[in-house]
């Protein structure tokens, strides 16, 4: 029996706002996979997650785990959260302040009227899993932020849910702890093999942890793919721009062959682009297209022009010193670019190489 989480046609419009919060989101999270909903603030990540949890009632759509249908608006079915058997961790951890750690974790089991031996044992297991078995007698306010977050996780998995939902669980931690927590959390997820939906607006987090990333913007799913694909083959301008340090330049397609495309800038400079980046798209000679440039892959050539492929001329418009590196705004014949370099560049003019894999053709 497969236990994929299947979201179809999910749409939510809040009565109090004019626009839809999410519209027609389709998503399949394979059993055991870690999927991240990634997107800027207000794009509808939490709303999607809450619809899955049953905390929001969607306007349309269906949600099921395997053949367990939790929401199906066409049939007027919306199970309340307590009947969905999910685990959830909230941004504020939401530990109940009047209950000790033990009681927080035991709450779900007590509601299920489990025998007290079993409760004790399972709570202990859960707390051991997050490494906090010694703190079961503390109150939440006696714990550090990181410990609270672990208790919240122990609480979410104690009743062995099929799906674990996490809404920015690491965003309240210090940057240092956050990086460790990432690794730890991903390890734990793999150990439990639990289907997980994770919400964040931090792309580093998304890339470090996920099997699949769902990029969202303005309530719409923009791309749903594994991390590498999101990075290498962004589906559209939004995804390209949101992921990594990206600039856009525009040119005209001069030549299309089976391996590559040649783009001509206004100055006549030529850029070769590997086509494998976009096997799915058709390009015609003469099309005016924008391409995305991954700044981190751009090489700055010091001292005169080079004969290398894809070398173009640029003029520095602006420079910012960031401590570990310099950030430059440069003007090229195709538009302005942002790039970073550990070297201080003297003078206002420079040559740079845009390796073929630093240029990404976009669908629009």
């Amino acid at each position: 029996m497969n236990n994929d989480l299947i979201i179809e046609g999910l749409t939510k419009k809040f009565a109090t706002s004019a626009s839809v919060a999410i519209s027609d989101v389709n998503l399949i999270v394979k059993e055991g996979q870690f999927t991240t909903l990634l997107g800027p603030s207000g794009c509808g990540k939490s709303t999607t997650l809450n619809c899955v949890a049953g905390l929001e009632e969607p306007t349309a759509g269906s949600i099921c785990i395997g053949d367990f249908v939790m929401t199906d608006t066409a049939r007027g079915l919306i199970l309340p959260p307590e009947q969905r058997h999910l685990g959830m961790v909230f941004q504020s951890y939401a530990l109940w302040p009047h209950m000790k750690v033990f009681d927080n974790v035991a709450f779900a089991l007590k509601l299920q009227k489990r025998p007290s031996d079993e409760i004790k044992q399972r709570v202990h297991e859960s707390l051991a899993l997050v490494g906090l078995e010694d703190l079961s007698d503390r109150y939440p306010f006696q714990l550090s932020g990181g410990q609270q977050q672990r208790v919240a996780l122990a609480r979410a998995v104690v009743s062995r849910p099929k799906v674990l939902l996490l809404d920015e669980p690491l965003s309240n931690l210090d940057a240092k702890i956050r990086e460790n927590a990432r690794v730890w959390l991903r390890g734990l997820q793999q150990q439990l093999g639990i289907t997980t939906v994770y919400v964040t607006h931090d792309q580093a987090e998304a890339f470090a942890m996920s099997d699949m990333i769902a990029v969202m913007s303005m309530g719409k799913l923009q791309q749903y793919a594994p991390p590498e694909e999101i990075y290498e083959r962004p589906a559209n301008r939004f995804v390209a721009e949101f992921i990594g340090v990206t600039s856009f330049i525009t040119g005209t397609i001069q030549k299309v062959d089976s391996q590559q495309i040649t783009l001509k800038l206004a100055s006549g400079e030529l850029l070769n682009i590997h086509k494998e980046n976009r096997p799915d798209q058709k390009w015609k000679q003469g099309d005016q297209v924008p391409v995305a440039i991954r700044s981190e892959r751009v090489e700055v050539i010091s001292g005169g022009a080079s004969s290398r492929e894809n070398t173009i001329k640029a003029h520095i418009a602006n420079r910012t010193y960031l401590g570990s590196k310099w950030q430059y705004s440069v003007e090229t014949a195709g538009g302005s670019l942002r790039l970073e370099s550990t070297d201080a560049i003297h003078g206002d003019n420079l040559f740079m190489v845009l390796p073929p894999d630093s240029i990404i053709l976009l669908a629009e």
């Binding site: 994929d4 299947i6 179809e8 389709n26 399949i28 809450n50 949890a53 049953g54 905390l55 009632e57 269906s62 099921c64 053949d67 249908v69 199906d72 049939r75 007027g76 079915l77 199970l79 309340p80 959260p81 307590e82 969905r84 058997h85 999910l86 685990g87 959830m88 909230f90 941004q91 504020s92 939401a94 109940w96 302040p97 009047h98 709450f107 779900a108 509601l111 299920q112 609480r155 979410a156 009743s159 939902l165």
Partner: protein
């Protein structure tokens, strides 16, 4: 995307009965019934030409044309407005001055004064009016002393007498709102003015007072609304000299001419409700507008106190004088009077000490019952009331129930109903509805009326606390498998315990001193302290009234002290 779900049609989940929804419906229906119950007979009666319980009543506008063309009604209306506005202004000025001096300056004895000036908040206005009569009335203790010194005295039974006593009663409203607003405001603004060279008083006038504007407007309108419906002070001080306000007018015709003028009573009552509704609406509008200007720092920095320099003794002296003359001496007079056979400055009270007044109360079954009833109502009805109000607040703010917005409005709407009108409405409703007439003269009826009247108080005492609890806490409960009701029981109610307890004490004190809502509902065996005091007052015995007042104050004080000591309850910030 492949449609894995629709390929295999599954049976519809059975529509299950949910206790959650049942409880939420119950809350909405009870709230609705509570509010409508006393309201409909008044509306209905105001358009009927004869008392409702008579046969052949017919629709008419006659009651309104009759009232609106009656010059006496207009006279009373204008008088009421003048009285309410004047006492609001005076109470506002005193309250703000007290709040600023006590909270923001280095005058001595600040904590002490801060407790004393709020005393009238916990005392029934009936008791306060009576206390002032005992002290400053024509035969009052203080008046006689002054007269004996051949200094010209005053006339307490007058427009200004009523205004001053009502103002005394309302000072704590402004004081409390202004104080909590001052606690939130950023004291650095004042320091900045001082550093800029402003004198302390100048700083207060140009920085502190403007910052208080929202609190001032809010408490002024609150005072105005309750002054409009205030019964006891105008009744005790104005009745004998023919001064009438809307509520004493309703009281008099309501008490005397139940049969004759019922339509007119209803019409006046409805006009009052409309007037108060307007004020309440205005209050909501102004405060929501004002909220945009509030600059709450949210920093718990200890505010630096303004140094009054040589003035601090003077300020403390005048505040002390105010507390002594306005609050302590009158109330002390009442207590003293309850322990003597006759209070007079020319008799040594120690020689005429007696417990007869109390014996009189406890030996007369009707009076004893009144005390017991009041205690029962303030313990049990307040407990049921606050629990209901808490669940109503949770339904309004913490459920996905469709009618939750309606709960908010309905729970706050009784603010527009003066106690005396609630009383009339309940009376008529009990008379008219078949089957429940037997409840009419029981303390159950009075309890229900009290709960209705104080629905807004309890609801708004608990709502801010509800809003402060992150909703992720209850969401986490739901996901963990708790129904809405289980979430309420195991998570929200325990977390809200402090707010519910202080709401309970507030409600219990209010029920203890409430009388106007009970006026038309009491009868033999179901009297409460307040209504009994009024009755005794009409019979002319000051000492029994003093004894009852003292009992009421003692119970209130015990409640406050016990709740503070045992439960750690703070009634206001």
């Amino acid at each position: 995307m492949t449609s894995a779900v629709q390929e295999t049609p599954r049976p519809l989940a059975p529509k299950i009965f949910r206790w959650d929804t049942a409880l939420q419906w119950a809350v909405v229906i009870i709230t609705f019934v509570l509010v409508i119950f006393p309201a409909w007979p008044i509306v209905y009666q105001s358009f009927m030409d004869k008392p409702l319980y008579e046969k052949d009543t017919a629709f008419t506008f006659g009651n309104y044309t009759h009232i609106l063309s009656d010059p006496h009604f207009w006279h009373v209306l204008i008088y009421t407005l003048a009285f309410a506005v004047m006492s609001t202004i005076i109470a506002g000025f005193i309250g703000i001055a007290l709040a600023i001096f006590i909270n923001r300056t280095n005058m001595p004895l600040r904590e002490f004064f801060s407790n004393l000036v709020t005393i009238p908040y916990y005392v029934s206005p009936l008791v306060l009016a009576f206390a002032w009569i005992e002290m400053y009335g024509p035969q009052g203790f203080g008046t006689i002393v002054i007269r004996a010194l051949r200094i010209p005295t005053w006339q307490l039974y007058s427009f200004w007498g009523i205004v001053v006593v009502a103002a005394m009663y309302y000072v704590p409203y402004t004081f409390l709102y202004a104080s909590s607003s001052l606690a939130l405001a950023d004291a650095q603004l004042e320091s900045a003015a001082r550093i800029g060279g402003a004198s302390p008083f100048r700083t207060i006038l140009t920085i502190t007072v403007p910052l208080l504007r929202p609190a001032i407007i809010y408490s002024a309108l609150l005072t105005l609304v309750s002054a409009l419906e205030l019964l006891s002070i105008p009744l005790l001080l104005g009745n004998s000299v023919g001064i009438e306000t809307l509520s004493t007018y309703l009281y008099t015709i309501g008490m005397v001419g139940v049969n004759k003028d019922q339509g007119a009573v209803a019409a006046v009552a409805l006009l009052v409700v409309i007037l108060v509704t307007g004020m309440v609406y205005l209050q909501g509008k102004l405060t929501s507008m004002e909220r945009r200007f509030v600059t709450v720092g949210g920093k718990a920095t200890r505010p630096k106190l303004l140094d009054l320099g040589g003035w601090k003794g003077v300020v403390a002296f005048f505040i002390g004088l105010y507390v002594l003359l306005g609050i302590i001496l009158p109330l002390a007079c009442v207590v003293l009077d309850s322990f003597v056979s006759f209070l007079s400055p020319f008799m040594n009270p120690l020689k005429i000490l007696t417990l007869n007044n109390y014996r009189g109360i406890f030996d007369t079954p009707a009076y004893r019952e009144a005390v017991v009833n009041s205690i029962n109502i303030s313990i049990f009805a307040a407990a049921i009331g606050i629990l209901f109000m808490a669940i109503a607040a949770l339904t309004a703010y913490r459920s996905s129930f469709k009618g939750r917005e309606a709960v908010k409005y309905m729970a706050l709407y009784p603010r527009a109903f003066p106690g005396i009108i609630v009383s009339i409405g309940f009376l008529w409703a009990f008379v008219l509805l078949p089957g429940i007439g037997s409840l009419r003269n029981t303390i159950i009826a009075i309890s229900i009326a009290f709960i209705m009247r104080y629905l807004p108080l309890g609801f708004s005492a608990i709502s801010p606390a509800v809003l402060q609890v992150s909703d992720e806490l209850d969401r986490a409960g739901r996901v963990a498998g708790a129904t809405w009701m289980q979430t309420i029981r195991h998570i929200l109610l325990p977390i809200l315990r402090p707010a519910i307890l202080s709401g309970y004490i507030l409600l219990a004190i209010s029920f203890l001193k409430e009388y106007s809502t009970a006026l038309f509902l009491v009868s033999k065996g179901s009297n409460v302290i307040g209504t009994t005091m009024l009755e005794l007052w009409k019979q002319g015995g000051a000492e029994p009234v003093a004894a009852l007042s003292t009992i009421q104050m003692a119970i209130t004080a015990a409640l406050i002290i016990a709740s503070r000591k045992l439960l750690g309850v703070k009634l206001h910030e």
